[in-house]
């Protein structure tokens, strides 16, 4: 399997812009970068999960409108649509709500029918330190359930300091493809209006 070594800073830069290139607002794209970097710091390659989540989004295979329901069984993040919820959209919201709820001993959060449950759990873990034990590195659509009585298992891993993360080449190529969507095509006009344009550097 072909691999590539990336610094954490580099990983964050590309993941943020790949999510932005996939059409997410900047704030959600920042969360994607935080989650990817956190996974890398724990020693996991975030590229396969992120690539799958990006493709789900841009292939129009995921819902992006998240709805909140409160019931006797807990707080539920769901959608009115028929497709699974995008993990890139619902993950940050799940982390928000779990951060708000987690001190309540009766807290229970359900994120229903997510395209990549592992990404949502990683989002929550990156923010709160909870949930890593139940993270699945891959897997199809499903629910994420967090509860104060055990589902919110504590992360066992500390930050690793290898100084870089090794990513799967094929998955990273997909991230890069989405990253390029965040760039503005160059035109003759923009090129000639750039900083330093037209200068003959012979001074």
């Amino acid at each position: 399997m072909a691999v590539l070594h990336l610094s954490f800073g580099e990983l964050s830069f590309y993941c943020c812009r790949a999510a932005f290139g996939a059409g997410l607002p900047w704030g959600l794209a920042e969360d994607a970068a935080v989650t990817a970097t956190w996974l890398a710091q724990q020693g996991h390659d975030p590229a396969p999960l992120l690539a799958a989540a990006l493709v789900s989004l841009t292939d129009d295979a995921a819902e992006t409108s998240v709805k909140l329901e409160q019931s006797e069984t807990g707080t539920i993040l769901t959608t009115d649509g028929e497709r699974p919820l995008s993990a890139l959209v619902s993950g940050p919201s799940a982390a928000d709500w779990w951060q708000v709820m987690k001190q309540d001993p009766a807290a229970r959060l359900v994120v229903r029918n997510v395209d990549l449950p592992g990404w949502v759990i990683a989002c929550i873990a990156a923010r709160t330190g909870d949930g890593l034990a139940s993270a699945r590195p891959s897997g199809g659509p499903g629910d994420v359930v967090m509860s104060a009585d055990g589902g919110g298992a504590k992360s066992s891993g500390g930050t690793t300091h290898a100084g870089f993360v090794t990513v799967d080449h094929a998955a990273w190529a997909i991230v890069q493809r989405h990253f390029r969507r965040s760039l503005v095509p160059s035109t003759d006009a923009s090129r000639s209006a750039g900083a330093g344009a037209g200068l003959v550097d012979t001074d």
């Binding site: 070594h5 990336l6 610094s7 954490f8 800073g9 580099e10 812009r17 932005f20 290139g21 607002p25 900047w26 704030g27 959600l28 920042e30 969360d31 998240v66 709805k67 909140l68 959209v89 940050p92 919201s93 928000d96 709500w97 951060q99 708000v100 300091h161 100084g163 870089f164 390029r180 965040s182 760039l183 503005v184 095509p185 160059s186 035109t187 006009a189 923009s190 090129r191 209006a193 750039g194 900083a195 330093g196 344009a197 200068l199 550097d201 012979t202 001074d203």
Partner: protein, 549 residues
């Protein structure tokens, strides 16, 4: 934190180059040339190592043959006169071979966590040729010609913080010598400056043989390193508001300490007067092509003359430094006010230098999803009231947009209403985004039966997530934001660049347009082989040596 003032910034003794040299001198760093492998044309490899009390850092520099048609300072360049990496430690032959295969490729190369900085530079052709010919003939260069440029080579990009596989800042953030902002980049550039002197003296020897002479110490010290800086620096200020706050807080605290002194000692009074004379000469030697900047320099020159007349009387009174500052506020233009700040700090190292250690932060950007919307609105009203003073209606108020071009990721500033790509803009329209957030918060408050929380609001308005997080993260930080509209028609990115470059310690700002500038770094500073016996702070407001050396 208005653009008009930021665009008049000057370096101070708290600037990053200054604090680096003080530390190196204090800790007795020593420096060695570990490899010098240049051919008769000056092409090849040089390795220069800085030894701290506990570590080593090595500049691995490559000198290349650059075809004229490939010569450009732009990010989109693909070849340079020289390229370099700063290596964490002492590189082995294998490391140097690996870098030789990658460093010259710059963005197209791949690096490891052992490389902390990546950079490149081009020669100043007219000065390089002149100095080489003179030294080869056994003569020193004409000082007017040297002063007209100020450097032999100028860097066109210096990358750190994990770019292209290089080591992340987190890897070095706990090392005292590199904790400060941009210390590792400044170290690389300072070593590179030494390389430029070695290179030109080598070429002179190759050309002149026994007739060749080395640079006179005065000229050697006067030569800095040039730099061409464009739009890439501006987004940094937007992405790191907590860091910017730390920088400005240190500077403002230093000024407050000096102003609060009840009297001036004979020593500080004399130092101030001496520096004022020197600063006037420095400004007099500051010549640029840009007519607008030349008008500002002329005004600055007049203001400094006014200050020189008034200073003796002001310094004889009680609270003298505050009186000097108040005089500046009342009687001088903004360029002179900013230079005066630098002058006031300069004689007071013992009072202010500790603040240089506080110009870095462990940035913590976090969303508080439990915050009530009413609290968020109060926070915005308290912190972002400056937005209300800006005109934000009409197409001219969002005429521009900042973006990364697909062409080598070159940062560019587009015209929103005439070019494609506005939807892909970088998040630098803070004022507009705050205004939009406030409008939706007001709407949410009008619709809600109770005071809801941020988590619920962001479910319905995910487009505000970035702005809410930013607002919460800079609560209480008065200097975190540029209090202007960065996408308005007429915005001058060069104001942002000068602000940041002044914190680096750059001088001789030479604007080439509203988008980019040339500067000089380390002009007048000791070279590595001179540092041990030099005053590490003796190079503020560098002035040219006398001709006929």
């Amino acid at each position: 934190m208005r653009l008009s003032r930021m665009g008049a910034s000057f370096p101070t003794r708290l600037s990053f180059m200054r604090s680096l040299l003080r530390r190196m001198h204090r800790e007795n760093w020593w420096f060695e040339q570990r490899r010098f492998d240049l051919d008769v044309q000056g092409f090849g490899t040089v390795v220069l190592t800085a030894h701290t009390p506990s570590r080593a850092y090595s500049l691995v520099a490559f000198s290349h043959d650059l075809p004229p048609e490939k010569r450009t300072d732009r990010v989109i360049a693909e070849a340079w006169d020289a390229t370099f990496s700063l290596y964490d430690g002492i590189p082995s032959d294998t490391d140097i071979a690996r870098l030789a295969a990658n460093t010259p490729k710059q963005e197209a190369g791949r690096f490891t966590p052992r490389e902390l900085v990546l950079g490149r530079a081009n020669r100043s052709l007219r000065l390089f040729s002149h100095v080489t010919e003179r030294l080869a003939a056994g003569q020193q260069p004409d000082i007017e010609t040297v002063a007209g440029v100020g450097y032999l080579m100028r860097t066109t990009a210096v990358y750190g913080s994990g770019k292209f596989g290089c080591g992340d800042r987190a890897l070095i953030a706990d090392r005292p010598e590199l904790q400060g902002a941009f210390q590792v980049e400044m170290l690389a550039v300072w070593l590179f400056r030494w390389f430029t002197v070695m290179l030109i003296e080598h070429l002179a020897r190759e050309r002149g043989g026994d007739s060749a002479v080395p640079l006179a110490p005065e000229v050697r010290g006067f030569l800095g390193v040039g730099n061409a800086t464009g739009l890439g620096m501006a987004p940094f200020l937007g992405r790191h508001p907590q860091l910017v706050h730390a920088w400005v807080t240190a500077r403002e605290t230093a000024l407050a300490r000096v102003r609060s002194l009840p009297e001036a000692t004979d020593e500080t009074r004399a130092a101030f007067q001496r520096l004022l004379v020197r600063a006037r000469q420095h400004v007099g030697e500051w010549q640029v092509d840009d007519p607008q900047q030349m008008v500002r320099i002329a005004g600055l020159h007049q203001d400094l003359a006014r200050l020189s007349e008034a200073a003796p009387g002001l310094l004889d009174a009680a609270a003298p430094w505050d009186r000097v500052w108040q005089f500046g506020q009342a009687r001088l233009g903004v360029e002179a006010q900013e230079l005066l700040l630098s002058l006031l700090l300069e004689p007071h190292g013992a009072l202010v230098d500790d603040l240089a250690e506080q110009m870095h932060v462990s940035e913590h950007v976090a969303l508080d999803p439990a915050m009530r919307l009413s609290e968020l609105r109060r926070l915005i009203a308290a912190q972002q009231g400056w937005v209300d003073a800006l005109a934000l209606d009409g197409p001219e108020t969002e005429a521009r947009f900042w973006y990364y071009s697909e062409e080598k990721l070159e940062p560019r500033l587009g015209h929103r209403h005439a070019e494609p790509g506005g939807m892909l803009e970088m998040p630098l329209a803070f004022a507009r985004d705050i205004r939009s957030l406030v409008a939706d918060l007001e709407q949410a408050e009008a619709e809600a039966v109770d005071d809801t929380i941020v988590a619920a609001f962001l479910l319905r308005h995910p487009q505000h997530r970035h702005t809410v997080r930013r607002v919460q993260s800079i609560a209480g930080l008065d200097y975190a934001e540029v209090r202007d509209n960065l996408v308005a028609d007429g915005v001058r990115p060069i104001d942002l660049l000068r602000f940041k470059l002044a914190f680096f310690g750059a001088s001789k700002f030479d604007p080439k347009s509203d988008l980019w500038t040339r500067i000089t770094l380390f002009q007048g500073a000791p070279q590595p082989d001179e540092l041990a016996d030099a005053d590490p702070d003796g190079w503020a407001f560098a002035i040219r040596p006398a001709n006929g050396i």
